[in-house]
Amino acid sequence: MTTDDIPAIACNKVCKSFGSTEVLKDITLDIPAGQVSCLIGPSGSGKSTLLRCMAFLEEATSGTILIKGQPLGFSEQDSGFRARQPASQIRAVRANIGMVFQQFNLWPHMTALGNVSAALRVVRGLPKREAEARAMAQLEKVGLADRADHYPSQLSGGQQQRVAIARALAQEPRIMLFDEPTSALDPELTGEVLNVMRQLAAEGMTMVVVTHEIGFAGSVANRINFLDHGRLLFSGSPEEVFRKPRHPRLEQFLDTYLDRGASMLV
């Protein structure tokens, strides 16, 4: 078995509750390597929670998540006991993953270059000059080399999100997770972020994208996963999703987008 055969992320019967609210119910889902997988679904269906479980920002209540075949966060012992991994092991598995948030989450006290180079210096221990050279290359990639010395407060939302993408990419993750990366942006700024993501997809990055941009999902995703009330109701190619929607909930969900200019896809 080559590494390509192993899914980048394998969720097996993942459940997540907050108190007595079950938010994720038995999610079994493979994220294939080198492809773009989108998570769509109505508000509150658990998309962010699932994505956050994949980054171990949330701990699944039960079930397992494998990153490139390695268990994330918990190790199953022979006795069946689920033991939390030591922090160093969690960090090592997590190093495969880059995360991009809806609210960008740039650090306001650092410039764009500082944000992108910080982890290279602090986590990888690279000397300042080398870290900044690598960070600069990432900023160039997202078209923001000329804004390197700007603080986040001096950048537009779209520019901030591109810096955040560059920051995640600088750690050379093998999988990128995006949680509604454009929904905090004015419509005219979403394009610049989606373009960076398209370029990343074209380079073969494994991506999981929670999005309400059905147009983006339809044109870039290899697989679309539809969540509703914490369950994975449908998983398939964009053609399958848009051409012949089968599940009534999916059909109903997509209907709400017909009015929003996504009708040409359906």
Partner: protein, 222 residues
Amino acid sequence: MKFDIGVILASGHEILSGLALTVLIWIAGSALGLGLGFIVATLRRYGGPLVNLGLAIPVEILRGTPFLVQIFLLYFGGPFIGLSLDPIPAGLLGLTVYGAAYYSEIFRAGYQSVPEGHVEAADCLGFGRIQTIRHVLLPEMALIVLPPAVNMTVILLKETALLSLITVPELTLTVQAIGSQKYAFLESLFVLALVYWALVEIAGQLGRLAEGYFSRYRTART
């Protein structure tokens, strides 16, 4: 009887030595209190609910009782539990612990002012807990923490005057002794007020300089 500050200032040498001790205890007590307060706030954030509660109680007691009562208990009550301290160490310890209780609350508010997402971003990039504190939390909370911390430090300076009551030979004790020797009680109070006020002004200016430094990235904040 006439009002003549000269009587007091004639003992300039003694005043300076009292002033030196006040400044020393103040700076050492503030610095130690700041450090201890930060440690307490950090333990309360990361130590789980039991540690949080175990630290909340002493913090509330220290904030809810007068400093004077605390140093009397420490100095006069300490020997009963085997803690016999000379006036200066007792005063320093008292000031440190009292300050730490307030500083810890300031840092706690500072921690809470940083959006959780900024910490999650650091987590995802592989930062360890201490690295996140050092490179994300502390610099981000600096602007929030600085004004109340400067304010508290000024209050601590004024509280050092109470250490005269456990016979720490600091500024207040020294100047009052001179005043009563020379029958110049009012003059001594006047000199004390002037010197404390000058120190407070200097501390306030330093605080504003620090705020200016930390606010450089907030220029275009929307």
